[in-house]
């Protein structure tokens, strides 16, 4: 059991799902026939309502031509179990329109938890992003660093469980990682060869993050660890108690810098996929377009929500576009071929809304970590079973049978201007 918690995030609901699996998609079965149910103002599905995504409603129509098509195809009435969730995600195939996005060098994502998460994500066939700074901070694992913290340990744990034809590993590199040549290291490592040869290795260029748009990665370190990393990172003694703030630089980007970096990745690593991660910046649509035109296989937008690292208090509540607004701007400008989003995704509704607004898949960050923390053996697996059930029910309720069939007609909001307002 870890000491992980996530205030402001529906932590207990996520942990419940990690314990109970698909059953947690419903109220406790013992209440059936005895408790009458209805929308609850305090229910966790509406937690916070900080993001316009939360205020959207999913709106099934009465007439469902796509259900008729599925009926004809099957020769029987379709139900939610007929929804096919497998989805192409950034050059990979995922078992569902979901990937795992929370594995940096931070304490929360480190150690056994990082390994347990890697193992479960692998067994589920979900693409997994290994975050920035793991190599400069924790090492690679080839020359004797503790395997549980190092990148190689996570890569192996994931690959050992991975079913054929599913999933893939995405390795981030930040400005400081460039010094450690993380991509070059992985690209030439025997442990990564099976992924490379089966087309299941990607590199993600990180231009920013949702928790603190415009800033680089941050962690809190004890003074001794900080001393070891001192010449590679900005170390700031803001806490005055022996612990220090370690900051990565966010990196400088212009359209030309982004374009050329993506091209260089394709040039230097022709057998790896290229992902680009954007923070929810006001020019997110332009950045997504530049990345896609330069040849990125996926563009990820990290909503202004939270994370596994550290951020100044002023940021999460006040900085960055809401995820729904990012999606609106990107789809209005012509979306990239594969748009991925993350940001407080933990249940099917928020996921389906994101997909309806143009995302191909959603990333699990804190939810994946908490589910794994609840049960390192099978917490994420059970959590994902519950999410898959919800996705199937919600998508089939819309008269559709694949995530890719969702569109903007499937959601409604009085405040969200571009959504057709229930005409």
């Amino acid at each position: 059991m870890s000491d992980l918690s996530a205030p402001g995030f529906p932590e207990e609901e996520v942990r419940q799902r990690a314990r109970a699996g698909a059953a947690a998609a419903f109220p406790p079965p013992g209440e059936y026939g005895r408790v009458l149910f209805g929308a609850d103002r305090a229910d966790p599905y509406r937690d916070g309502e900080r993001d316009p995504l939360d205020t959207l409603r999913i709106t099934p129509p009465v007439f469902m031509p796509q259900r008729l098509a599925r009926l004809i195809d099957l020769g029987r009435e379709p139900d939610y179990r007929d929804v096919e969730l497998a989805t192409p995600v950034g050059g990979f195939t995922s078992a569902l329109p979901v990937y795992v996005s929370a594995l940096g060098s931070t304490r929360a994502a480190g150690g056994d938890l990082g390994l347990a998460l890697s193992r479960q994500a692998g067994s589920l066939g979900l693409p997994m992003v290994i975050g920035e700074n793991v190599v400069p901070v924790n090492g690679y694992g080839r020359l004797g660093e503790a395997a549980d913290r190092a990148l190689l340990g996570r890569l192996r744990a994931y690959t050992e469980e991975l079913p054929d034809g599913r999933g893939g590993v995405v390795v981030q590199q930040s400005t400081e990682d460039a010094d450690a040549e993380v991509w070059n290291l992985v690209y030439s490592d025997p442990a990564a060869l099976p992924l490379l040869e089966s087309g299941r290795l990607a590199f993600e260029l990180k231009t920013g993050q949702g928790a603190k748009p415009g800033l680089g990665g941050m962690t809190v370190l004890d003074a001794e660890t900080a001393g070891r990393l001192g010449d590679r990172y900005g170390i700031d003694d803001v806490f005055g108690d022996g612990r220090v703030l370690r900051s990565s630089t966010p990196g400088t980007f212009t359209a030309e810098i982004l374009r050329q970096q993506v091209r260089l990745m394709r040039n230097n690593f022709p057998r790896a996929r290229v992902w680009v991660k954007l923070h929810p910046g006001r020019d997110v649509a332009e950045a997504a377009r530049v990345a896609a035109e330069a040849g990125a296989d996926a563009v990820t937008v990290d909503g202004a929500e939270g994370g596994t690292g550290w951020a100044p208090g002023a940021f999460p509540a006040q900085v960055g576009l809401p995820l729904a607004e990012c999606l609106r701007r990107i789809t209005a400008a012509g979306p990239p071929p594969c748009l991925l989003v993350s940001g407080r995704i933990w249940e099917g509704g928020r996921a389906v809304k994101s997909l309806a607004l143009g995302a191909r898949a959603v990333g699990l960050g804190r939810a994946a970590l908490l589910a794994t923390a609840e049960d390192p053996e099978a917490g994420l697996v059970r959590f994902t079973e519950c999410l898959a059930l919800e996705l199937r029910m919600l998508i089939s309720a819309l008269g559709k049978y694949a995530p890719s069939a969702l569109d903007r007609d499937d959601v409604w909001s009085p405040e969200f201007p571009v959504i057709p307002a229930g005409e």
Partner: protein, 333 residues
């Protein structure tokens, strides 16, 4: 999925057998003569030979997909040289025309073990000329290669016979006048041949071999796009996005022999280009300080010594042109 050629690693013979084989001796004699001829030629032209450093706080990042080797230098992370480029530019503060025979180590991707043309440790004949343009460098390479091949063909007929290499293969080469084509034209030709070459990337290995197989003498490919090369290649002032650089590619399918360019020596442009190539300018401190103070504009190139030997000697694989070959992922002396 893109593939970069065969992936089966080539077997290496044990060092005793390799070093005593008549073919190895002939190949190494040809290499020795090629280098001797290059030194004669360059000294004649007023070049000074320098001894290149082996380690430094930073090295050339512009090598496709390969990993640098870290060295613990009294607690500081140093690198084995992947190329001498940064030192070549700096050396022009001492002399206007310099050359060196520089050892390079690049931990190439594993699939290169079977390409017949990659070594993890190799040597470059590195040349840099202050005040020169890209076209000056192209002319110099051409004259240099003609001189080297002419010398070796005249002086080592027995070794060519031992290797079964018909020196008639160099009849066209020895006339000079290597062909020139722009990268965009090479892409168009490859696509015409049914090869899916990306217009934004370096020519892939299979594509290079394909073009090479169509030619009877070496040829230059010029004007590579940004995003395919290191930050030090100068961008065309009138054609943004294209670089004033070149590769020399051998005939008969032997592929690339040499890369070169006119260099960027403008501080702000170098910092910007570093970002475009994903580099952290902070680690290039000594180099950037020097550039800020001013280094001469220049052009230069590096000829792969083992690759040139392989081509001239007509060897199946580049490792045969090394006394102690190192292939990606293969443990050897």
């Amino acid at each position: 999925m893109t593939t970069d050629g065969p992936t089966a690693p080539a077997p290496l013979p044990d060092p005793g057998r390799h070093l005593t084989a008549p073919a190895t001796r002939s190949a190494l004699r040809i290499q020795h003569r090629l280098l001797a001829a290059a030194r004669e030629f360059l000294r004649e032209q007023g070049f000074t030979e320098l001894l290149p450093p082996v380690i430094g706080p930073v090295t050339d990042p512009g090598s496709r997909g390969s990993k640098q080797v870290d060295v613990d230098f009294y607690g500081h992370r140093y690198k084995l040289m992947t190329s001498a480029i940064l030192y070549k530019q700096a050396s022009l503060l001492a002399f206007d025309k310099i050359f060196c025979v520089a050892p390079n180590v690049r931990l190439e991707p594993l699939e290169t073990a079977g390409t017949s043309r990659h070594l993890a440790e190799f040597h470059q004949l590195d040349v840099e000329v202050a005040g020169a343009s890209r076209d000056d460098a192209v002319r110099l390479v051409e004259e240099l290669v003609v001189h080297m091949v002419d010398s070796v063909v005249r002086e080592l007929p027995k070794d060519f016979a031992e290797l079964g290499r018909d020196v008639g293969a160099f009849t066209e080469l020895l006339k000079g006048s290597f062909g020139r084509m722009r990268h965009a034209d090479a892409v168009a030709e490859l696509r015409g041949l049914g090869h899916p070459q990306s217009p934004d990337a370096e020519l892939d290995w299979a594509g290079e071999a394909l073009l090479s197989a169509q030619r009877d003498r070496p040829f230059f490919v010029t004007d590579y796009p940004k995003g395919s090369r290191g930050f030090y290649d100068r961008e065309h002032p009138e054609q943004p996005g294209l670089l004033r650089n070149f590769d020399l590619i051998a005939a008969e399918g032997y592929g690339e022999l040499c890369s070169g360019s006119q260099r960027t020596n403008d501080y702000a442009e170098i910092v910007t280009r570093m970002r475009e190539t994903g580099e952290n300018p902070q680690k290039y401190r000594w180099y950037l300080d020097l550039v800020r103070e001013g280094v001469p504009g220049s052009a230069g190139f590096g000829i792969g010594v083992e690759r040139l030997t392989r081509y001239v000697a007509g060897l199946d694989a580049v490792w045969q042109a090394s006394a102690f070959p190192k292939l990606a992922g293969v443990v050897s002396p």
